[in-house]
Amino acid sequence: MDFNLTEEQNMLRDTLGRFLGDRYSHKSRQKLIASGEAYDQEIFSGLAGLGVLGALFDADHGGFGGAGFDLSVVFEELGRAGVIEPFLPAVLAGGLIAEAGRTNVVDEIIAGTHVAALAHGEPGSRYDLSHVESSAVLDGAEIILTGRKTHVLNGAQAQTLVVSARESGEVRDEEGISLFLVFAGGEGVTVVNHVNVDGTSGATVTLESVRVSVSARLGAAGAAFSSLETAVARCLTALCAEALGAMEAAKALTIEYLKDRKQFGIPIGKFQALQHRMADMLIEIEQARSAVINLAGNLDQPRAIRERHVSATKNLIGRVGAMVAEECTQMHGGIGMTHEYALSHFSRRLTMIDHMFGDVDYHLERFIALRVR
C-alpha cells in the first residue's frame, strides 16, 4: 500500500495550484461568464503549457500520464479553483479519439489548440449510456448521420464532435452503437450553445443527413458501447475528483467564515450546533476522498470491478456533494446565497455534477445491478 503521489504528480499539482491561485478567481470567472465567453483561451493555453492536458493521456498517445491518479490529481485542483475551461471534453472525446489511434487530432488536443466534444446524450436518454436513437446509415463509402444530441459539453466551442449513432438494434441496445468524427462546421450540423447553471457551456447538436466518410467511424461498426463506457469511467474519475476539489474549497471558505463572522458577540464557529456539523462534513469529505482514490486506483481493472467503483464513487460523491453544498450555504447564512461570493460557484457546481452521467439514484441502482454474485 502506498497512498503517496509520485514526484511528478506532486509537482504537477503544485504548479497547477500555484498557477490557478495566481490567475484564477471567482471574480475573473464571473467576469468571463458575464462576457458571454465559454472559457478563457489564455488560461486554457497556459494550463496546456503546464502539461495539464498531457497528463490526461498516456505516453502511447503523446501524453505523459493517463492513469487514474493523473486524472484525479489534475481535476481535484481544477475543481478547487472552479475552472470552467474545457478539460472534461479532453478526457471524454479526447480519450475516445486517442483510443481509436487518431494521433494527429490528439496532438492538437494536448497542445490546447483543438477542442473535441462528445455528442452522445439525447432528449430521451437521461443517464442511459445505451440510449441512442440517432441513426447512422451506410451509403456507399459514406455514412449518413441523423439525430439530435443534447447537453453536449462545450459542443459549441469544439472543432470536432465525436457523435454516437446507431447502425443497428433497438433504441436502448448496447450493440449497434458507433462513434463518428464529425466536423462541427460541416453541412447539416447545427450547434446551439447554452450556458449552464454552473457557468459551464453545453450545446444542442442537430444532425440533418450529415454525410461523413466511412473512415470517420472510430473502431468497428456497432461496437462502440464498451469504448463509451470506458471513456465515461475515465470522465467520472475526473468529475468526482473535481467535485472533491470543489468540496475542499467550499469547506475552506466555510471554516474561514465561521471564524470571522460574529453574532451575539462571538464568532459563530463557537456555536457547538455549527461545530458538530462542520465535523460531520469533514468526515464525509474524507469519505469522498477515499471514494475518488478507490475509483482512480481501479480504473484499469476488468470491467466488472471498474464499473462497480464508478457507480459507488459517483453515488457517494453525489450524496456528499449535496451535503457540502447545502450545509456550507446554510452555515454562511444570507452571504452563502449570494452570486458575488465564491461559495455560490462551488455549491452550483457540486449540485450540477450530480446531474452529469448519472445521479445518486442512477448509480445506486446500477451498483446494485452490478453486484458480484
Binding site: R126, H194, N196, V197, Q263, G333, M337, H355
Partner: protein
C-alpha cells in the same frame, strides 16, 4: 377528536375554489405552476383581484377591511390558493406591518397606511437585517437621531426582499446608545423615495435579484412616522415576528409542490419507463409525502390551539423547521427529476418570456434556480438553528 372539516368549512372551501377558478388568470397560474418568476405587475394584479373580493387580508379584522377569518378558514383558503397555483400575496404590509400598526400605531398611521396596503398604493418592504445584524438582530446599528420634528437616519439595511419595488420600508433603528441593546431600538416608517435612500440589488444563487441592500444617508423622517414609543421597537419587532410565523409551515405550498412533482414524475422517463415507476425515486417521493401528511396534522393541531386563544408560541419553531425541510426536499426532488435538463440556465424562460423556446420538460427552466432559491427558507425568518435554540430554551427548558 374529529379530523373532518365542518359543513360550513366545507362550503367555504367550495366557495373559495369556485372563486379562484373563475378569477385567477390562467397565464398567471401557469407561471406559478411552472415555478417562473413574477414581476411587480403580476403581484399587484393579484392583490387587486383579491382586494375586489375582499379577501386580500385574511387575518385583519373587518373594521380595517380584512375578512376576519378564523384559523380553519385561513387554512382552507391557503390550501386552495396553493393548489390553484395562485401567486402568494406580499407579506410585508399585510402580515407584518399591519398587525403592528393595529396594536401599537397611532390613529393617524392606521388611517393613512392600512387602506393603502389594500389598494396597492404602497408596497412595503422589511428593513430589519443589517450586514452585522442577522441572527443577532438586536445588534443593529442604523442610527436615527432626533433633530427637531425629524429623525435623521444613517446606516444600511440588507437582504431587503423586493425592496426594488417598494415605496415604503419599515425599519428597526437605533435611537439610544446608552442602554441595553434591545432597549435602544425604535420602529420607523420610511419613505423609500426620500432623498438619501439608495437601493442596490443583490444577485442570489438562482441568478435573480430578489433582495437588495438599502443605504440611508442623512435621510429625514418626520417623527409622526415613529411607531409607538421611542426605544420600544424591540417589543414591536418581536410581536411582528409572531405574526410573520403564522402559516410558517407552508403546508399549502408543499401540497402544491408535491402534486407538481408527482405529475412531472409521470411525464419524465428514466430507463424506458416513467420516473414515478422507478422505485428509488418513488420511495423518495413517498417519504416526503408521508412526512407531509403528518406535518399537515401537526400544523392543524397547532393552528387550532392558536385559534382557541393560545398565541403561536415556541411550537411555531417546530413548524418552521419541519415545514422548511419538507419544502426544500420537494424542490430538490423536482430538480433531480429533471435529470440533465436541470443544467441549462434558461433566464428568459425562468422570467416567463413567451418567445423563449425551453429546453427539456416544462419545469426544467425553474427547477435548479428554485432549488437554490429555496435554500433561503432555512436561513430567513429566524434560521433553523435559531429555531432549534428557541425549542431547547422555551420548550425543553435547557
Amino acid at each position: 377528536m374529529d379530523l373532518n372539516f365542518t359543513a360550513d368549512e366545507q362550503a367555504f372551501r367550495v366557495e373559495v375554489r369556485g372563486w379562484l377558478n373563475h378569477t385567477l388568470p390562467y397565464d398567471l397560474s401557469e407561471r406559478v405552476r411552472l415555478g417562473k418568476r413574477l414581476g411587480k405587475f403580476d403581484i399587484e394584479l393579484w392583490h387587486s383581484l383579491l382586494n375586489e373580493r375582499g379577501w386580500l387580508a385574511p387575518n385583519w379584522p373587518r373594521q380595517y377591511g380584512g375578512c376576519d377569518w378564523n384559523a380553519a378558514q385561513r387554512h382552507i383558503y391557503e390550501e386552495e390558493a396553493c393548489l390553484a397555483h395562485a401567486p402568494r400575496t406580499l407579506p410585508f404590509g399585510l402580515n407584518m406591518l399591519a398587525p403592528v400598526l393595529m396594536a401599537f400605531g397611532s390613529e393617524l398611521q392606521r388611517q393613512k397606511f392600512l387602506p393603502r396596503i389594500l389598494t396597492g398604493q404602497d408596497w412595503w418592504c422589511q428593513g430589519y437585517s443589517e450586514p452585522g445584524a442577522g441572527s443577532d438582530l438586536a445588534a443593529l446599528k442604523t442610527r436615527a437621531v432626533r433633530e427637531g420634528d425629524d429623525y435623521v437616519v444613517n446606516g444600511q439595511k440588507t437582504w431587503t426582499t423586493l425592496g426594488q419595488y417598494a415605496n415604503w420600508i419599515f425599519c428597526l433603528v437605533r435611537t439610544n446608545l446608552d442602554v441595553k441593546k434591545q432597549e435602544g431600538i425604535s420602529f420607523l416608517l420610511m419613505d423609500m423615495n426620500a432623498p438619501g435612500v439608495t437601493v442596490r440589488p443583490i444577485v442570489l444563487l438562482d441568478g435573480q435579484a430578489e433582495v437588495n441592500e438599502v443605504f440611508f444617508d442623512n435621510v429625514r423622517v418626520p417623527v409622526e412616522n415613529l411607531v409607538g414609543e421611542v426605544d420600544k421597537g424591540w417589543t414591536y419587532a418581536k410581536y411582528l415576528l409572531t405574526h410573520e410565523r403564522t402559516n410558517i409551515a407552508g403546508t399549502g405550498f408543499s401540497n402544491a409542490a408535491l402534486e407538481t412533482l408527482k405529475h412531472v414524475a409521470d411525464q419524465v422517463h428514466s430507463g424506458g419507463k416513467p420516473l414515478s415507476q422507478n422505485l428509488l425515486f418513488a420511495a423518495r417521493v413517498a417519504q416526503v409525502e408521508i412526512d407531509l401528511m403528518a406535518m399537515a396534522t401537526t400544523n392543524l393541531r397547532m393552528v387550532s390551539a392558536a385559534a382557541q386563544g393560545q398565541a403561536p408560541g415556541p411550537e411555531s419553531s417546530m413548524l418552521k423547521v419541519k415545514g422548511t425541510v419538507i419544502r426544500q426536499e420537494l424542490t430538490s426532488l423536482l430538480r433531480r427529476a429533471m435529470g440533465p435538463d436541470a443544467m441549462p440556465f434558461q433566464l428568459d424562460c425562468l422570467q416567463g418570456g413567451d418567445n423563449a423556446e425551453a429546453m427539456g420538460p416544462d419545469h426544467a427552466a425553474a427547477a435548479a434556480p428554485n432549488y437554490f432559491n429555496m435554500r433561503k427558507l432555512s436561513i430567513f425568518g429566524g434560521s433553523n438553528e435559531v429555531q432549534r435554540t428557541i425549542i431547547t430554551k422555551n420548550i425543553l427548558g435547557f
